[in-house]
Symmetry: C2
Subunit: 280 residues, 2 copies
Amino acid sequence: MKVAVVGIGLIGGSFALALKRFGLADCVMGVESSEQHAKKALELGLVDEIISLDRAAAECDLIAVATPVNTIPAIVTKLLNRIGDNQVVIDMGSTKGELCELISQHRNRARFVATHPMWGTEHSGPEAAEKEAFTGRVVVFCERAQSAEDAVKVVENIYTTLGMKIIDMGAEEHDTHTAYVSHISHITSFALALTVLEKEREEEHIFDLAGGGFESTVRLAKSSADTWIPILLENKYNVLDVLREHIHQLQIMRRMIERDDSEGLREAMNKANSIKRILK
Amino acid sequence: MKVAVVGIGLIGGSFALALKRFGLADCVMGVESSEQHAKKALELGLVDEIISLDRAAAECDLIAVATPVNTIPAIVTKLLNRIGDNQVVIDMGSTKGELCELISQHRNRARFVATHPMWGTEHSGPEAAEKEAFTGRVVVFCERAQSAEDAVKVVENIYTTLGMKIIDMGAEEHDTHTAYVSHISHITSFALALTVLEKEREEEHIFDLAGGGFESTVRLAKSSADTWIPILLENKYNVLDVLREHIHQLQIMRRMIERDDSEGLREAMNKANSIKRILK
């Protein structure tokens, strides 16, 4: 199978590596608008050749779009305009509502499969690509019924071979759940980094004292603005909803600390502890 | 050297293991008010014997107090009441202001060294003790000038042998910085877990989708209420100060998302990214 990856960053680059590692593609082509990223992707051997979007649409069996989410609908539409009945297009983005609506009436809609592999790190660009990505994680398929059966089979085979567990969701449902479980974590982490940078003028102390769990809660604050601004704005209503709740929870904890309300804090922490049961 | 550890949980238990591993103590005794923890600590070989606080004061060269911070001042005072000029008491707690004030005029103040090794995990109890704890981390000594030189030397030798870097701070200064760098992370994590538990009624989805960084930001929400309520309340004014700033930062991000203010978000995220430079 000949595959093209559009956008060879953390996700696209890791996907290209995985396709090769598992023998899923004879050759992996890259489509990349940044010359610097294109050069780096070739250097690192993530892709065999850099080609245009038109060539990808003309030559490749599978085209995977892994660019920032605000650019995905236009790229997917252009690809669907050009491909034939034996080709498949997928996206790997973190939001799905807008995308699935915009392409819903496209003549070639059935050749598209909306996927979101639930893997990522705080790093970005082709250098961030990881060989062992995806394996053991969940991948969400959205609106599977809108895709042709043969197209779904091709994509299922790939993700299953990569060792991923496939789950199904509607596009809106997906965006709600990812706001809760992924997007809010990034906002929290950005805000926490800003808080500490604001309050802690002595950088040396941040460095010295960061053993106490700070590093893990603030890790995501290293994430790329290019990736995350489009995600937060595309998923604005869900993100604002969960952000409102999060600020509310912090205000409750603040009031309990102000009032030395040990019992209230104990109840809240015990409830928060139950996340243990869910995560492991 | 004969050492007693008072409170054989995550920190005390790990300290006991470290003392043995590095050959720093001929025998490590445990003082533990929970029968269950005492039994477990013996079973796990963390300590050689369980003894009373009085026996620890009578027999041990060094007594390390690693109980919840609200209980430390009374325990340290009782130990200082009983020990002689060749014995040393240390605490390993996360707050120092209240403790250092309460014991400041004790006749035996010089036999006490206030220390805070900057290591921990979200687990608690004797089962949480780790062999490789402390090494490579920072330990803060507070108000070193109030301790006798020979007492400081004993304690310095221990932490240095464990591979820790010692830094000095005043007690108030310590509490301010740890509020910024450690205590706020725990509040954020607890509040994030509560947010998601509140919004996400379908636990299965938390479990399935938690790949997106959620797990690392919410890890500290598994921490023990017994440990953290005393820390947050003892360090109340600093904690409230930084919590106020954190809520303010979240409100700013919320307004930027509401207004689709990409430029504002970019500026904020780029600033947050600079935490990279400080942490590594």
